[in-house]
Subunit: 149 residues, 4 copies
């Protein structure tokens, strides 16, 4: 984690505010806990209405949590970035009602790409899912960055 | 696509009924259009409440559609299967309100694993996302298979 | 598969010649069988010196075959492209001495990215490995394109 | 990293010896630097005969290094494991002659599966490639485990 200057702080504050207003985050109950340049933690408590054919939490719900952490981490430098690829491995199934936290951290950052590792864990620390994610960086400032920061 | 005997038809009917009742599918508006052994098509019209920080459809919503197609295809043989890994590549962004269809087909089937390729396209045929998915097969019948089929 | 004009034919001829001279292809015994815009087939007969700890063909050797097919397919339009991500699933193990063929085909092509599905099969048609691959397109002509084609 | 008892030491010693004799490792110049349960470091100095169409190190060569680290890490517990899936992201290109090191560490371990993150770096510390890997654990001892350890 580097470049924690005022600009980084501004970008992180702006993305935290944008994440709080995000439609999908609100629909899915995704809550940003913490963000710093290149890293963040997002929380979800999946409801009974997020279960799959087997009554456990749907892969799409778990992925939504992972993806939200990815989106926030890759835009946290204040430069617009969007997802190119994400590979997720499911390690253990999750039950509705249990608190899950996704933690993203940056593995590599270049001018045009950024790579992340992301884990979803339950409160016991057990891993539920793990992912590797690749973003493309447009090079332009994120649109929700408040210039008056 | 093989083994389209009465058992296959029974399994496909059972999974179609289970998919219709699935909590997450109902929450996300995922609708199974067609299923045969090893393949299926699932539809979603993402709402305004599924948008990300940039106002386009959230990666988690697109993935939910892909993952539902994967879940149905890998369980369509009537043998319980669950997701091990899924790698998704985002090709173009999607807008709320446009109809998206995920189409899964089987690439390889062994006793213990099954592999799928999945594409999400919009009505024009343009690809929105593409995925490769790997499932582990337990070897036991799917729990929602109606034995009186 | 589209754009099969004279330019496409020239690009495919140029890449076929470059592939024949490629150092790694020669070292590994990778042989291009066929190339057209966005697709190709590459062959390898792994030797005894390509085995892993268990005496079967090493994942790195199988991947080299997949990756060569990917490299050729994504550069076959005559526009320089390089690998961003590749997700490989191993379906069955391979033995030294058996002929393996990797077949790549294009799933999506945009100005800046290109996506492929690739399969490695043995002569019986059985799948050995399957992959999804993502390339970044620089937008400049491939350096080995012979303008006098 | 846990379970570093005598059994773990025996398994790690056995795999280090097997890796030294491995045909593919010798062919590609892959050298195990260090192994402990669930983690290892492997080195390669790619030669001029490992270059791709653009004169940089071929993706198949880089992957071979990653895959060797994965194979050793997932078998380091003394339980037979084989690769199911590997997703690799290429961050920067490598030149023939430069020393590359792959470092694998375990993200999750269950009875039947094991997950790893792997990075390839050059001497400057810059990331060349990063991967996420998934192994299936057979549950039987590795065949090269010397019982007289």
């Amino acid at each position: 984690m580097s470049h924690k200057g005022p600009d980084a702080a501004t970008a992180c504050r702006a993305i935290a505010q944008a994440a709080e207003r995000e439609a999908f985050a609100n629909r899915m109950g995704l809550r940003l806990l913490e963000v710093e340049p290149g890293a963040c933690r997002v929380e979800m408590v999946p409801g009974e209405d997020m279960t799959n054919l087997f009554g456990t939490v749907h892969g799409g719900a778990l992925f939504s949590l992972l993806d939200e952490a990815f989106q926030i981490a890759c835009n946290s430098h204040g430069v617009t970035a969007f997802a190119l690829n994400l590979s997720v491995t499911y390690v253990s199934s999750a039950k509705p009602g249990e608190r899950l936290v996704a933690e993203a951290h940056e593995v590599a950052l270049t001018r045009r790409t950024a790579s992340y590792h992301i884990r979803v864990t339950r409160d016991s620390g057990e891993v539920v899912a793990t992912a590797q994610a690749l973003a493309y960086r447009l090079g332009t400032p994120v649109p929700f960055l408040d210039p008056s920061g």
